[in-house]
Point group: D2
Chain length 402, copies 4
């Protein structure tokens, strides 16, 4: 724990001193100034030994068990710039783990290593506008083998960080006739520069199209060709790989949300204590404000214990895959539980700030609008609740069909 505490101290100091001052650029959408500034901070983070904190030591990471990494991720989550600064931002962090587990030598060289070094970024193409994301077996994008190449046709959106990415991990149907609906899709590594990859638009999310790693794109694949050896993992294994990738992704989101909650909580307390209703009578004297502070404290602390307990179960399993599998249902539970806490805490903190809360003078309004998606991405609340309920019923001997 001593080691962890030291890492946390460094992360917190770095976040506070180096990243928080840059937030205004993100909030103002000034990416021309932000992107070079972040490049510099990424260099500093590497020098500080904070690079790739999510990875094992033998891949240059901090080698922390998942529950300890959770504390680091929370500390990074206090600013929207935290994870990118140390190279563990979504979707690259998930892609790195996927490639570490499934890439062959050539794929490591071409795709994984630049990510590990931070020389390139990547994206992940799964969701399609035509289909509800909650049912992953319904997918229209196809890839067919034509000689020594895969030819892809399809339509994706919410492809996070496509803008400026070197490649996209694309989920496509390769075996439409497989009996098992879960064995029809595969994952393919598609360079964004490949012919036939069309960038339709950066999606206007809450009034903000963003740029670079902070953006979400709509893309079309129109006969895009990639070498046959760009298949990642086994043919027909796309669904299993996606599962393997999304479980950890969800717990990573929960950890990050705790950081947002704590930052919002601090802002709420500080504003309450310093904004005066009348001389000598700050907002914090109002019982309603006190109620919001207390409820937020309790909800955040309960949420953290719940997330770390889940992480510990995964960390203590015989393997990560086993751990993820064993904790699958609890991961669904924390996903909707923590997303709910996040939304309530942000709402209260914003209300305490009054008009100021609506402005981009604090990150509250940014999180209020962008993290509304926390209840949607990686499976909406409703899907995760169904997962938990069915498991509880199943454990009591009751098998409930949809």
């Amino acid at each position: 724990m001593a080691a962890l505490d030291a890492v946390l101290d460094r992360v917190r100091a770095f976040v506070e001193a180096e990243l928080v001052p840059l937030e205004g650029l993100l909030l103002a959408g000034d990416f021309d100034a932000l992107l070079p500034a972040m490049d510099e901070k990424r260099g500093e983070a590497r020098d500080l030994g904070l690079w790739n904190p999510h990875l094992p030591a033998d891949h240059g990471g901090l080698g922390l068990p998942l529950d300890q990494f959770g504390r680091v991720s929370e500390a990074l989550g206090r600013t929207p710039l935290g994870h990118y600064a140390v190279n563990c931002q979504a979707p690259d962090a998930g892609n790195m783990e996927l490639l570490l587990a499934h890439a062959d030598g050539r794929q490591r060289e071409l795709f994984l290593n630049p990510l590990l070094r931070g020389d390139a970024r990547s994206c992940f193409g799964m969701t399609e506008p035509e289909h509800a994301g909650s049912n992953p077996t319904v997918m229209s994008t196809t890839a067919r083998l034509d000689g020594d190449a895969w030819v892809l046709d399809g339509h994706k959106w919410f492809t996070t960080a496509f803008d400026g990415a070197a490649f996209c991990v694309v989920m496509a149907v390769t075996d439409p006739d497989a009996d098992n609906a879960y064995a029809r899709a595969s994952m393919l590594l598609v360079p964004t520069e490949a012919e036939g990859v069309e960038h339709v638009r950066k999606l206007p999310v809450m009034g903000d199209a963003g740029a670079g790693w902070f953006s979400h794109s709509e893309i079309r694949l129109d006969g895009a060709r990639v070498p046959a050896e760009n298949l990642l993992g086994p043919r027909g294994g796309g669904f299993l790989l996606a599962q393997e990738r999304l479980g950890p992704g969800r717990i990573h989101h929960c950890m990050r949300w705790l950081g947002i909650c704590e930052r919002a909580f601090d802002l709420m307390c500080d504003r309450a204590a310093t904004r005066e209703l009348a001389p000598g009578r700050p907002l914090a004297t109002r019982e309603t404000v006190q109620t919001w502070i207390a409820e937020s404290r309790a909800e955040i602390d309960a949420a953290r214990l719940y997330v770390l307990d889940t992480a510990r179960r995964i960390a203590e399993a015989d393997s990560v895959v086993e751990g993820q599998k064993g904790a699958r249902v609890q991961v669904s539970a924390i996903k909707f539980f923590v997303a709910g806490v996040l939304q309530r805490v942000l709402d209260r903190a914003l209300q305490v700030h009054g008009g100021l809360g609506m402005l981009d003078d604090t990150p509250l309004a940014f999180w209020f609008r962008h993290e509304r998606a926390a209840r949607i991405y990686d499976g909406p609340d409703e899907v995760h609740k169904r997962v938990v309920a069915r498991e509880e019923l199943r454990a009591r001997g009751h098998s409930i069909k949809r």
Copy 2:
């Protein structure tokens, strides 16, 4: 009622056919295209006899009682462009009413008439960054009489629609030594071009600084001089005028929110019925979605009855001032009640849209972020709840101090 129904039909058709198609420009922040397009629509609205619907017939308005106007305002509220298209947008609508009641001949000529014709816009400068808006007697902006001019010094923000406005109705302390704390401030008509009026910035609201009538500014008054005759109403009467102005403003917001709610409700139902989870099985088959639809229907209908009942009480009073006074507490009640309904309905409609709900492809995300302020502007929920509680206790013979 026949007359009202005919007006409503015209308003609805105009909104649907002419304004909804322009929404994308607002959502994309493309004001260069939007502003001239809106000028054209304003001309059409005038030709259709929909101009100044909030005003008495002898001032060129529709001459509707307040509860009937409420229906019109709801119909306009279905798009963020509705009220501006017919010249009853905030803050101009409130300023027109204020000037109609209190402007002298010269002030009518110079300030009111251009507003009535739609040749100019105005703004209202009350809130100051240094003081909580919930306590209107604490204010730092001053105006002192220097010869035949008022000289203003101060700092205002959330001055809606300053950008491009011809003048600002500024609330300033003119009589700091008056015994009655409510008799220290006055209202002054300040041309935005006057020397000493500094536009600090358009406030970045939820990532969006806006433009023209859709913007909020921070301004400084640094020895700004205006003619002595620009005093609006009696000296020391600022607080009374503000009260007179804000009551109707609140009910106008409630009416508009009902329109937002109904539009969001329609979008929710349509998306639920057409978005398929699997072939032939739309989202609307999910019980959770049905629950959201039902709860929204009930809450919106109850809210509308509550708002219209309040409007009817005002309309049936012997005078508007009497009506507003008699309904003051109920106006506070609908302010927080309807704002709550608005937020819940928008949240549900957005969730039903999934990822699409986060995009500016519908107006839901726009309203979700910008109307978060509904629980803050014109008095936060907490202040209005206090007003209602104290009145209920007072009516039972219990006088509760703060």
Copy 3:
């Protein structure tokens, strides 16, 4: 309206002076003292011209349109003794309306007239323990014609007021083979003294088995025989009659709940204003208590307007049956909306009372436990929400199956 106001004054005075003082007997379960006392009050109510307020004047009632009766019912609802005191308690009020519409001459003489005079009470046997009440077409109780008698076999529960009732309106399957599932059941008038009618038990509801009109029974029909002419309405018409009976029943509950809400609200305000935290500092100075008062005020007022608007629609229809049909969906909406308001208001009022709120020294604890059923009886919230959602979708051209 003058007439209504006079009636309301009389009802309020009667409730306050004559019924509230008897509440303690009900709360203590002292039915030996309560029942004779209530008989006396029922006599007084008749003398005051308050008898059968729900009925048309030509049947000895007050002849009020439904929305005006709503105000009377609210006034009666301020005490759990109100409706019984004037003979419009459930289930008798509904049974009277059913018999007025469908009883033949003999049935009127034998069954209806004693109810109208208050000489007898009745009950209604529909719900069965083996089947979810939310699906009325699934029912096991049968009645077969054997010569000139119906022979009934079955099992019912939540048969309100069976204890001491003269007869029960029993819903039973008479035509199990009818193609239309809604045409299989009929209604039968079954004297409680008939052989084969077995009273299993008074149900222990929230620790309280009650007595007389305030009780709910489980009964068995074991070859119970009643004359063939005890069929009420057409054979196979049971479902239609039940629908006709339950719609008004639901709006009657809503009206009564408003009375409970207002009483609880008064108790909450009075306790808040008089219970001191310290000398001179009553509970009502706490902002949280003020918030509860304000939210309750708004919710109750919105609920009342919603209920009365529904009643007005029914009253203004060409016939009651038409009115009920036209308002069916809105009745579902107010059922769950007002039940929700009721539960929240009672919860807040109880919390303001602290320990005292848990005691039977006020009626709050009684209502808290017994009116928890408001979200269950006459269709649980979940069923009514489904009704509303499907209608909204249908009105937009989307037909959603279960």
Copy 4:
């Protein structure tokens, strides 16, 4: 942990096999049958080595650290009979801990030892009807030294388990003139048989006066005399002792509530899975029911982790007193957090049961009504929220007065 698991297995088996079958007697208020049956079970519990599980081994208890005891308490809490069966029911458990820490030799002999053996019961007299329980320094009961006796005058209520208790630990003002308001009261051991101790009534709680250990009384002290040596702890130390006693009491309630939650959760799942809406279609197929199951699972698990984390902090402190002090604020947080979870879980479980949920055929209705007090006793939610908020503000350097 092996030891703990074995204890838990025994406790669970004992609860399920021996206590659950007796619940019906409690729910029916049949104390004549229940009390002797419970005496028998208490003997069995002792034989099974489950007696006094909250106490250190050297006092005949299980000697478990507080977090491990938490698991035992949860297992006992699955039935309202659990804690009494093993002699760790409130208020005796708290009184034992108080006497263990502060009783002298004579007091141990006369008062503590019979409690440890289970030969006598006790009660705790603090709350007074005239004063809000949330302000413990305002108290009217007095004790004055008259020769070798204390003479007590006062009025107490919510004196749990007075009925049949051997003695009451009474909080009374002994030093009204002490400068420090927290040093005016003392604790006195008052035999219930002492002259001047008047039992006014068993309080009618939610329709139920109860009996024996399951009852709450109102009492008057009218010149009651007890020997001078019946002073417990130092004179003027009443407030400190009360603090010392109430902190652990609160966490004990939280642990017990988790047991209620899990039992309610099991009942909800089982009912959902077996109650059919139509043949082959159980309630559990409804998405709303699944949502309730999932939300309950998440809330209960988060609550448990929060409670056990608090218990662990106390257990790991250098002393219990230190531990309690260090965890005081977190104890306040879990008190309102878990009480909220409890109320929501019970409400959902009851709703899933429909009409059956209102009956005493399951313990749900019992808990629904009696555990409504969870948000009131040992400090209402509002007080605990204030404690948490002020500490959070204080930790950031902001001292907020009331």
